[in-house]
Amino acid sequence: MVPIKLKGRTISRGCAEGEVLLSRDPISFLGSVDPKTGIVVEEKHSLAGKSIKGKVLVFPHGKGSTVGSYVMYQLKKNEAGPVAIINLETEPIVAVGAIISEIPLVDLLEQNPYEYLNDGDIVLVNGSEGYIEFRKPEGSKKK
């Protein structure tokens, strides 16, 4: 196993490690995620029925209402939120939500995280210094 470190941009500071949960779809925290349980309730979502609780949540970007920022805060208070977030490119609703909820968030990584990460991988997100770090078998990009 070799350590891989990908640099990105700091959006929300802090540092956390956890299991990856990949979402192919954008996420609207208002309406798509149950703030009490962290379960994705939007029917046609690629994460429908799955829980984001305690995960390092990887999704392209946010969408939907600005109230979504407060829903992220509610998730955190209910201990049902992700421990960290990786976005392709963050938009303001998720940026603000992650900061007020103290969820580390990094975006604009130097390599596409979807080409490196699988569900269940352990990854460290360092929001303060703007990088993510994980281990992979030598020579393999994904799987």
Binding site: R9, T66, Y73, I100
Partner: protein, 401 residues
């Protein structure tokens, strides 16, 4: 993004947790939008006030903050009249939560005047070129377009962060080069009063988030510009518009005509008014005051209602300050059985959800009532709304000017 030494200290938590988070929000947004630094603001207007929209999560976040705002800051409309919430039959549970939200803001030194027309308040003036952090979409449009001040479309938390720091990130509409018109809109008919709300509703859908410059046959009044901007910010995401020969930047800067051109005709506005005839049912509720009524609008409503009695529920929304400044208009309106309601509006109050068809003279309310309140909305000018309320004939109440 460049930060001063003092700002770096705040970001490192040396000025406490609330300011650390506040500056972290501004820096993150500044980085996302390519700001070069933070700039001082003159005032803040903070959205995220109605319990109907922000819920327990929003209440919790605001309650956890500490400190005092550094610039004058006021609030967006709440979910109820704060002094007389029972008049619109708000539940005690809702009222209790709503009051807690207001208290949490008050603790931070924010004025608890809840209005979408902050520019009408004494001591809250904004001038040409002033940088602001406002977050109510119609107030943003008015500040940028009619006053020539500069504000982005702030979210609730970012406006609150800006108020706590007295600064905002320098990007978007704070920069002159981002305020140039991108699409030309020619209106081929003459316009009056509610026609501007109808125009805004139609134009906003076409324009989206671009900056339009209008060529109009008439010179609109301030209230007409307010209605135009409010509607475009609701049916589209227009935060700044210009009107040739009318708005301050169009007059001072003399913009070149954009390549993209749109023409709007009378028949497109008539379609908005025809909502009254198309409606599946009769309006049960008549509402005026989105955005909040100005003094001139209160006067007109009072004149139309003088000596009459309403036979349908009728709500007139304005700011508390204006209601206190013009007690005679308020008395005349209330003598008809209509209610003057402060601090809230038909869109953010849960009271509107009790009705299935609402008549409005606002393009903004027309756009939002179906989604936010679950009611059909129909459009008419102010006279038509009052006729509907007083039960006089007026079936063709669409009647555009």
């Amino acid at each position: 993004m460049y930060l001063t030494n003092e700002e770096e200290h705040i970001l490192n938590g040396e000025a406490g947790e609330t300011l650390r988070k506040a500056i972290e929000i501004l820096v993150a947004l500044g980085d996302i939008y390519g700001a070069d630094g933070l700039i001082p603001i003159k005032s803040a207007q903070i959205a995220g006030v109605s319990y109907k929209t922000i819920g327990d999560a929003g209440l919790e976040w605001i309650s956890d903050l500490e400190g005092q705002v550094k610039v004058p800051a006021i609030l967006n409309p709440a979910g109820m009249d704060l002094e007389d919430w029972e008049r619109l039959r708000i539940s005690p549970e809702f009222a209790e939560r709503q009051k807690a939200i207001i208290q949490a803001y008050k603790k931070l030194g924010i004025s608890c005047e809840c209005t979408c027309t902050p520019y009408t308040l004494e001591g809250f003036s904004a001038g040409y070129g002033d940088h602001l952090a406002w977050s109510e979409s119609s107030a943003i449009s008015y500040a940028n377009s009619v006053i020539g001040a500069r504000t982005n479309r702030e979210g609730g938390p970012s406006a609150l962060s800006a108020a706590l720091l007295g600064k905002t990130a320098n990007y978007g509409l704070h920069l002159e080069e981002n305020r140039i018109p991108e699409v030309s809109v020619s209106v081929e008919c003459s316009l009056k009063e509610s026609d501007y709300g109808a125009l805004g509703y139609v134009a906003g859908k076409i324009i989206g988030s671009k900056i339009p410059i209008f060529h109009l046959k008439d010179t609109p009044e301030k209230d007409e510009l307010k209605a135009l901007g409010a509607a475009m910010a609701a049916s589209g995401a227009v935060a700044l518009y210009h009107v040739e020969g009318v708005t301050p930047e169009a007059c001072r800067l003399g913009f070149e005509e954009p390549e993209e051109k749109i023409i709007i005709e009378r028949s497109q506005l008539d379609e908005v008014y025809e909502s009254r005839e198309r409606a599946g049912k009769e309006p049960e509720l008549i509402t005026i005051g989105c955005p909040h009524c100005s003094a001139a609008e209160l006067k007109k409503v009072a004149e139309l209602l003088k000596g009459k009695t309403v036979s349908k529920e009728t709500w007139i929304f304005t700011s508390r300050e204006l209601a206190k400044r013009y007690p005679d208009y308020i008395r005349t309106i209330e003598e008809s059985g209509a209610r003057v309601v402060c601090d809230t509006c038909m869109v953010v109050s849960p009271a509107t959800n009790n009705y299935s068809c609402v008549m409005v003279n606002s393009g903004k309310a027309f756009a939002y009532v179906p989604g936010m309140c679950g009611a059909e909305s129909v459009y008419g000018n102010m006279e038509a709304c009052i006729e509907e309320a007083t039960g006089r004939k007026g079936k063709k109440a669409g009647g555009s000017y």
